[in-house]
Amino acid sequence: MGELLVQDKNIVVPGEELATGMDYLPGAGTFRDGERIVAGRLGLTSVQGRAVKIIPLAGKYLPKKNDIIIGTVTDVLLNGWRVDTNSAYTAMLTLKDATAEFINKGDDLTRYYSFGDLIVSKIVQVTSQNLIDLSMKGPGLKKLHGGRVIRVNPHKVPRIIGKQGSMVSMVKNATGCRIVVGQNGVVWIQGEPKDETFAVKTVEMIEEQAHISGLTEKVKSFLEENGYTVNPDARPDETDGYYSDPERHHGDGERRYPDGERRYGGERRFGSDRRPRDRDQERRSRR
């Protein structure tokens, strides 16, 4: 008979035994070793029926398709831009996906995005080698001007955003700041200097207390104590709701792929230097 060795929402470290027997199933962040289910990383346990999994508490952002991230332009290339993603990998923003405008051959690309520019962009593809393609086509995707940037633990982003963007829209509304939260843990805040500083404080507080239940109430009273009024009728705007797709940000460390999508096989492309060659091949085959 199987036995659970931990409770729900326990902090476990790698190598800790979570359950014995075949009655329980190993979920994300765990593995089975003979009769036992063992923790494969640091995190909080989550027991759902027979499945035991681990919600990660630490770690770098892992790029996922369809995530909205805030990146920094680090290089301007011939056919696009290289973007820092606050993960282990840099991303590529190609001309095709960068803007709706027509870009002439030989144009100065820094006119669109230059070094150090912050952009809100969407990940359109992640290959098996973690080559990332970004796009700027979509609602709310834009270059950011001014404001300030803070980095938070990417695993706490879902909490900062809240259900359907409720948390971030509450802070936005009360402080009058413009806030964009990237799935990669980069948060951009812009407003009056005083409000901006306070919004930073609030976001940091949400990050610190992300695990507490009833956090929305706490944040609300925190805002009110400091002289901000929270409008109960405030609804998340278009760009907040954008992150609200529950399939998109789950924060449980599981990587989900749409049906039929495979990460291995398929075309392998090496950033900038592959495309001209592809074109040559096409030309040859047409002949």
């Binding site: 470290v13 190598g15 070793d33 990383r41 282990a88 695990h211």
Partner: protein, 235 residues
């Protein structure tokens, strides 16, 4: 004279007092301190991150790089020349090999995880302390690991097997072997086994058996260090 009593009065299988703390370097992705007796090791983990030069990249998995360094004022009072030396290179290499079996870096092709181990104070057993600290730091960095790694130096002094040798014992001239051992505490698999001195096959088996008990104690402290950090976050 036979070696009946340890120089510092410990029992034969008794460790020096030891403690650990996770998350001490704020800028790092993961970090830890591990102190055993007068040996103190700090470890900081950066990454996974981009790896350059490119020829070092491995397209099938991320790589691990360890840097072991004794600070100039650590040790017995003789100034240690700063920078790389043959010994530090060797220890960096064995540390890497001791930690790699538990790490799963397949999710991070072409990337690197850097582990920096600094020792401000040493009294033998520094590579073991370094491995213990690094293992906590790697878990703190949120990497996939199948177990913690705990390490301890076992010694043979004359006919006695002693656990956790200090510098005085290491320098004992009446027949001494020093055996640093790193182990996965859950399964008892070895990831580091070195020897300095002479040792019979039988004594080696005794040494490994002695390490098993010590490693369990260390693992508990490592686990508690991580829990303290994240429980602290919860309050």
């Amino acid at each position: 004279m036979a070696y009946e009593q340890r120089f510092d009065g410990r029992g034969m299988t008794e460790l020096r007092p030891f403690k650990a703390k996770a998350g001490i370097v704020r800028r790092a992705d993961g970090s830890a301190m591990f102190q055993i007796g007068d040996t103190v090791a700090y470890a900081a983990v950066y990454g996974p991150r981009d790896l350059f030069p490119r020829f070092l990249q491995d397209p099938s998995r991320g790589i691990l790089r360890c840097h072991y360094n004794m600070m100039p004022f650590s040790g017995s009072g003789e100034r240690i020349r700063p920078g790389q030396n043959r010994r530090a290179k060797e220890i960096s290499m064995v540390t890497e090999k001791a930690l790699l079996p538990v790490l799963d870096l397949s999710e991070y092709p072409n990337a690197v995880v850097d582990v920096f181990i600094e020792l401000p104070q040493t009294d033998a057993g520094s590579r073991c302390a370094g491995i213990c600290a690094a293992s906590i730091a790697l878990a703190d960095a949120g990497l996939s690991m199948k177990d913690m790694v705990s390490a301890i130096a076992i010694g043979r002094i004359e006919d006695k097997i002693v656990v956790d040798v200090n510098k005085k014992e290491e320098d004992y001239e009446g027949g001494m072997a020093d055996i640093p051992i790193a182990m996965l505490p859950r399964t008892g698999e070895l990831t580091l086994l070195q020897m300095d001195g002479e040792l019979s096959k039988k004594d080696l088996a005794r040494a490994i058996e002695a390490a098993k008990g010590a490693v369990k104690e260390i693992k508990e402290v490592q686990r508690q260090a991580l829990k303290d950090k994240y429980e602290g976050d919860r309050k």
